[in-house]
Amino acid sequence: MGIIIAVISGKGGVGKTTTTANLGLGIALNDKKCVVVDFDIGQRNLDMILGLENRVVFDMVQVMDGEANLKQALIKSKMSPNLQFLAASQTKDKSVLNSDKIHKLVTDLSAEFDYVILDAPAGIESGYEHTIEFADRAIVVVNPEVSSIRDADRAIGILDSKSQKVKDGSEVMKYLIINRINPKMVQSGEMLASDDILDILNVPLIGKIPEDKGIIDASNQGKPIILDTNSAAGKAYARIAARLCGQEVPLENVEEPESGLMQKIKEMFV
């Protein structure tokens, strides 16, 4: 059985879908079979980030309702033969989700894939609760900013009280990703440092991602930034994907700004 991982954040716009796409692809590039599922019913976006929006025929609600089978609905990524994608329904309402159907869907997926990654909707409503219901693990994405951290704490609270694992007396393993770190602002004390965030949230860190202008370009093109092996964010995602695959990769201090003469000269011009 594969591992079911929910990607959550509480607040919207912190990079949850970008993270799902990059880690899904990163895991696949580590030779593991991986499926990413968009659980954001009515606001389908993961297809665009993966560059697969023109290939969606059936969505996950149709699979759950028996209108299509998994084979018909799963879309193979061109970027890795190990990566497949299941789209959210764009027309239906999140009220169509129910626990039994979701349990069947994720169980069927975990029988075929090593990693099943679920992209949760923002907020802490029913759509979110259904995404975390059968998760083995959760990746919590935050930005170093007060509203993101507070909302993440609420989402974690719900995860710790409403997931099936917790109801069964077990625990959902959680990992924290701090996204959009601006090293200069951390250095000057204008942005929360990752140690501060860890003090507050009490979730083990699995990676830090520096702010990277290339993210917009990557989403414009539908090519996750992990494919750009020179980019700071791409490298950070690759390290996290390797950690999720069980490799020991030391945490890099992305909060330390680049040093050296060239960097200083570059800075004079920006």
Partner: protein, 77 residues
């Protein structure tokens, strides 16, 4: 790095404010997943004897002691 205004770092302010806000969130919201059910049951018990208008339950922590404070608002006779 030097600053002309020597202002207090705002990251420190953010951490202090967040710590307090999150502590209070954790105490008052989903501290108990069974809160709604417990509320409903307490209302039922009190209703046997008198009219109840509203009920508010809070977990409070003071000097390391945890307490449950239950406010029952009665209906006017």
């Amino acid at each position: 790095m030097f600053s002309f205004f020597n202002k207090k770092s705002s990251a420190k302010t953010a951490k202090d404010r967040l710590t307090i806000a999150i502590m209070s969130d954790r105490q008052n919201t989903d501290a108990f997943p069974f809160m709604d059910q417990m509320k409903a049951e307490i209302i039922e018990v009190v209703k046997k004897y008198m009219g109840v208008k509203a009920i508010d339950i809070k977990k409070e922590v003071e000097d390391g002691v945890e307490a449950l404070s239950i406010d029952v608002q009665l209906e006017k006779n």
